[in-house]
């Protein structure tokens, strides 16, 4: 019988760099390039933009969006959205205050809480945050409802609950001394506070997680082809559930830190943060089609957004320009990334 001659593989290339760069790394590098370009423009337009303190601020001022971005990125990789994170921040912050406010210490209802120790309050608040994530998971993984609609609903639920507990305003009295610690302690001599350290730690963990763990690999598989993932033995429902709970937990942590920083649980906190988290993920090259993207890219995207918005402030543009800038920047990013990838594949 005739057999077709099979070409023996010539040099089998296996290295990641130097050989074939993965598409994800390519896009991340592409966006780094964009970042440098945007930064250069900003330096030209805004005096003193290149000062080290300013550069540091660019990274540290957005610590909260970056933490959110971690969860949102992973959810996006599976092809889903999580728009509930902003509401979750508000809820967790408010709960962290409410749980440890003094018990029955005042006539004013907003000054009374459950009187629990701070640590317990934090723990309970985080649990509630994860509860929101669980609600998301139920509708999305079990009922298979489109995630955009569900998470908009849970966003309102969470924020609404925060509004109810604060009667539409905030709670900021009768707090234990320990309350402000997390938000104010910083490395002596610098402006780097716990929140920034948490962000850095989480980014590093997330990056290692994304590149090296089995769990993360399966997330990419689910996003790339949910049917094939199922046939390859991945329990898609389980992974989605865990992801939404993680995303909620990250939002919760952010909420705790922000509440501590401002020593208040404000029901209007973090309005629009979920949108920003989505924007930086998209800027970083994460694709809603699923199976593609990196937290490192998201981080780069966050800095790009930071540069753009602070340059706008530096040019004395009103804060209202932010909306237009974000829209335009996102649009350019999506289109240019698609263009770059298509060119690459030739």
């Amino acid at each position: 019988m005739e057999t077709k001659q099979v070409e023996k593989p010539v040099q089998l290339q296996t290295s990641l760099l130097g050989g074939k760069l993965s598409d994800e790394s390519f896009i991340t590098l592409f966006m780094v390039g964009v970042l440098l370009l945007v930064f250069a423009i900003a330096c030209l337009v805004v005096p003193n933009f290149y000062k080290p303190q300013n550069i540091l601020n660019l990274i540290t001022n957005n610590w909260f969006v970056i933490i959110l971005g971690i969860g949102v990125t992973f959810v996006l990789i599976t092809g889903n959205f999580d728009m509930s994170v902003g509401g979750n921040i508000a809820l967790t912050g408010v709960l962290s205050v409410y749980f440890c406010q003094g018990f029955n210490v005042s006539q004013n209802a907003l000054a009374n809480g459950l009187g629990l120790p701070y640590v317990v309050a934090v723990g309970l608040a985080l649990l509630c945050a994860m509860g929101v994530g669980a609600v998301n998971a139920f509708f999305i993984a079990k009922l298979k409802v489109p995630s955009i609609i569900v998470t908009l609903g849970t966003m309102m639920l969470a924020r609404g609950a925060a509004q109810v507990i604060t009667q539409g305003a905030q709670r900021n009295t009768s707090l234990p001394d320990a309350f402000g610690f997390l938000g104010s302690w910083g490395i002596p001599g610098t402006s780097i506070r716990i929140s920034v350290l948490v962000m850095i730690a989480l980014i590093i963990i997330a990056f290692v997680f994304e590149k090296k763990t089995v769990f993360a690999r399966r997330i990419y598989l689910i996003g790339a082809n949910p049917e094939a993932a199922r046939l390859s033995g991945i329990n898609v429902s389980k992974y989605l559930t865990v992801l939404y709970i993680i995303s909620a937990l990250l939002a919760g942590i952010t909420g705790i830190l922000l509440a501590s920083e401002f020593k208040a649980g404000v029901s209007s906190r973090a309005m629009g943060y979920e949108f920003d988290a989505l924007v930086i993920a998209l800027l970083g090259g994460v694709s809603i089609a699923g199976g593609f993207g990196s937290v490192l890219g998201m981080f780069v995207g966050a800095i790009i957004l930071s540069v753009v918005t602070s340059a706008a402030t530096g040019m004395l543009l009103s804060p209202d320009w932010q909306f237009i800038l974000k829209a335009v920047v996102t649009f350019i990013a999506i289109v240019s990334q698609r263009f770059a990838l298509e060119r690459r594949k030739g």
Binding site: M1, Q5, P9, T14, K212, L221, S232, G291
Partner: protein
Amino acid sequence: MKSTENVLEIRNLVKDFPGVRAVNDVSFDIKRNTIHCLVGENGAGKSTLIKILTGAYARTSGRILLNGEEYNSHNTRDAKQKGISTLFQELNVVDQLTVEENLTLGMEDTTFGFLRKTDKINKMIGVLNSIEPSIKPNQLVSSLSVAKKQIVEIAKAVAAESDIIIMDEPTAAISESEIGRLFKIIKGLRDNNVTVIYISHRLDEIFELGDYVTVMRDGKHIETKPVSEIQDRSELIKMMIGKTVFEQYTPREEDCPDTILEVKHLSNHRLNDISFDIHEGEIAGFYGLVGAGKTELARAIYGVDEYEGDIMFKGKKLQLAPDKAIAAGIALVPEERRSQGLFTILTIRGNVPVMNMKKISRNGFINDATERNVTLEYVDKLKIATNSIEKEASKLSGGNQQKVVLSKCLFADADLLMLDEPTRGIDVGAKSEIYSLIRRLSKEGKTIIIFSSELPEVMNICDSIYLLYDGSLKSTLRNSCDVDSENILHIVTGGE
């Protein structure tokens, strides 16, 4: 202009794909207002021929004349406008609309955008009514059975005044009584100025329905004859099989005494009370043609689809989930490579280790070096043609893609490996490599089940052969060097 006797004339049609000539210098005529059947085994070239007629493929060379004029179409819509409508196996109706709305879709009469019920529309409804009065125009298509949906599609094609209606395995998904009704309708079409090209492997249908039959084999046209001149099934079967010498089957040296898989009274929406045992170490083959239920059976065993009945694997009851099946030691190479088996946007390295991550990781952390080595190992073992394991899976040829899927499943270290249409759309070279691989695996003690619609494949390597037809297990036999392949084809085409 319809004075010519032949509605379609095919002259020296050739279609080449990289590495294979799917249609090899085919010439024949289709007479006007006849039911013209097209038969042939898998890979005979009939689907490719049809795809050229419907515009899905462009021919490599040759001519087609429709009503005496040159015919060329770019896509299905184009073909429809030129007079050739096709009923595919995937129904092209909109479930959420009514029958009338589907009938008139794309052909509506309007005044300022308002839908009007004109004579033209009433005529179309009349067409449906004359075909099948029990379908009411204002019924939702979603409430119709598959058979009735088909009829709506037929009516639509007739209403669009098609010269030719092609039907591809139309009886695969409908019941016996519905088949009778469909045949009446098809005969009615013929009597009303429509030519029907009817593709089916159910040979009884050819005799019941067909005026003419064209047999294809290995891409070539074998013969076109009036059905009345054909004596019996075996004559047809002989034409379909020809003098193909099956590669010699080598009987097993040792017996396989232990049962590894027991299937008891398996039934679901497509399967009827199937029971069988598979023995450890053997290569079993489930053979049947389109609609026989092979994929449904594979998916049921794997835990993807629901069923009634019991399946025992290694003495324990199998649960209804793929991850449980994999954990128990079963792996499935799915039917659709691209949509079910492969992660096309990922690389080879991203695909291969997927079903057994434990082996390339420790404590949940992936060991890059192990991952690379394992991938390289399988690329080598299966001779996957690539110069890098970082190549995107979508860029590989069909054969190499299948090898990646195979690697993926082999890496799962399954004791039972199920392969659904393992060599579909793969060139000859890769095919034989896969067969040697299967034999090698069997020697190593693995049990293998192949679900296939290619008889040579099954005859080549399987120790035991199970014949499926219409969701039932019709017969089982032991393979040997002189198995009666005609009888097999007889059974899987509905004979007794």
